[in-house]
């Protein structure tokens, strides 16, 4: 009886996701289209001079995360539904450990989100004149926020994969989990924009890591049941 390691299985699932996405570009197109459209619309309507100076850190932080949040939601929610729709889930269930599937798909969503952030955030800062005083702080918030969003989106996507009307269900289930996260990452981004001190982002960062951590532990405990049943 052969058995692969959990790491090797997770990387195999990740490799499959990347290869599939590079050929089909379903998530890339959905995320890219939404992100670029909203970014251009916001930049065109508000631009670097459309906000009062005292409102800029908060409003620009909120707008940035609204763009990232909805763009990510458009792409990440399909990571499990596409397996059910294409009838490939059965083969994957038989060949891979549940946690390898979770980790592989989570890593894929994380890569997708980090790539989205790497493109959108510098563009947004340039188009909106968003001056960030602590670039290191912003990077920390982006990475931690991206990871927490990826964990939450992947887990909710797994829960809704076999339900009919899964898109609507994703929004309903994800909202209470993602809303506090959104509030925390906006606070962290605002702190990075307003203060050159790296420590300024730590309170928000703690909240992001805590929320992401709790969701991750819940996912590790519940996903095998959700995936097998």
């Amino acid at each position: 009886m052969h058995r692969s390691t959990l790491l090797a299985e997770s990387l195999a699932v990740l490799g499959k996701e990347v290869a599939s996405e590079l050929r089909r570009r379903v998530a890339l197109n959905a995320i890219g289209l939404f992100a670029v459209t909203t970014l251009v619309a916001v930049a065109y309507q508000i631009g670097p001079y459309g906000l009062a100076e005292q409102d800029r850190p908060f409003l620009l932080s909120a707008l940035l995360w609204i763009i990232l949040f909805f763009a990510a939601t458009a792409g990440l929610s399909r990571v499990f539904v596409k397996e059910e729709d294409a009838h490939t889930a059965k083969a994957l269930r038989l060949a891979a450990r549940p946690l390898a599937v979770l980790y592989g798909k989570l890593l894929f969503n994380l890569l997708l989100l980090l790539a989205l952030e790497a493109i959108i955030v510098p563009l947004y800062c340039a188009l909106m004149g968003f001056a960030v005083k602590s670039v290191g702080g912003l990077v920390l918030v982006m990475v931690a926020g991206g990871a927490a969003f990826a964990v939450t989106s992947t887990f909710v996507a797994a829960i809704i994969a076999r339900a009919s009307g899964s898109n609507a269900l994703f929004a309903i289930l994800a909202l209470p989990l993602l809303l506090p996260l959104l509030v925390a990452v906006i606070a962290g981004t605002r702190a990075a924009a307003g203060s050159p001190e790296l420590l300024a982002v730590f309170p928000a960062l703690r909240a992001v890591v805590s929320l992401g951590g709790v969701t991750m532990v819940t996912a590790i405990l519940l996903f095998p049941v959700v995936w097998r049943d």
Binding site: M1, H2, R3, S4, T5, A8, E9, L11, A12, V13, G15, K16, A19, S20, R23, R24, A86, H87, T88, K90, A91, L92, R93, L94, A95, A96, R97, A100, D229
Partner: protein, 204 residues
Amino acid sequence: MVTVRFRDVAKRFGGQRVLAGVSGELRPGRVLVVAGPNGSGKSTFLNILAGLLRPSRGDVQYLEDDRVLDQEDWYPTLGVAAPDMALYEELTAFENLQLFARLRGVHAHDHAALLEELGLAAAHHHKPLGAFSSGMKQRVKLAQAVLHRPSVLLLDEPSANLDEDGHRRVAGLVTRLRSEAAIAVATNDPREMAWGDASIDLAG
């Protein structure tokens, strides 16, 4: 070697009875044919044997050297090919086998030889499955089911969509594997029924 023992396996979907109390054993070196008309529960029964569906009544046990395996330990021993199971259409035949070999922890395997044994010419090995006919996909699906040399092989209509040559090749594969695996074949095809050492008829 793994033996699969099933006792009084029944399944209901809502109010509808699909399986009513099936008992028996799947033993290494033997082929069990599961026969019955459409809708008699053949695929449901194989899904229950694979641990993909929970029976409404009864139980299934996997025994290795008289030790009962936990359900998570069933999967590495299992190979399954079924009509409701698809592979990745955007990946090539070879990439699909590579993926499942990695997931199964099979490090050295000649995917090309296996695909050719099932009648898929080398020219097609590096083409995406999306460009394949149903019969070609079925050959890749069967290759995926056996590449890790499973101890338990569950084949649901294995010759579906295959031509005469394909049917002969699947028969050859079953003959080659029957000495090392416990095999169940769900079918209505009289040629596939002839492979069996024992049979269960779900018609009643």
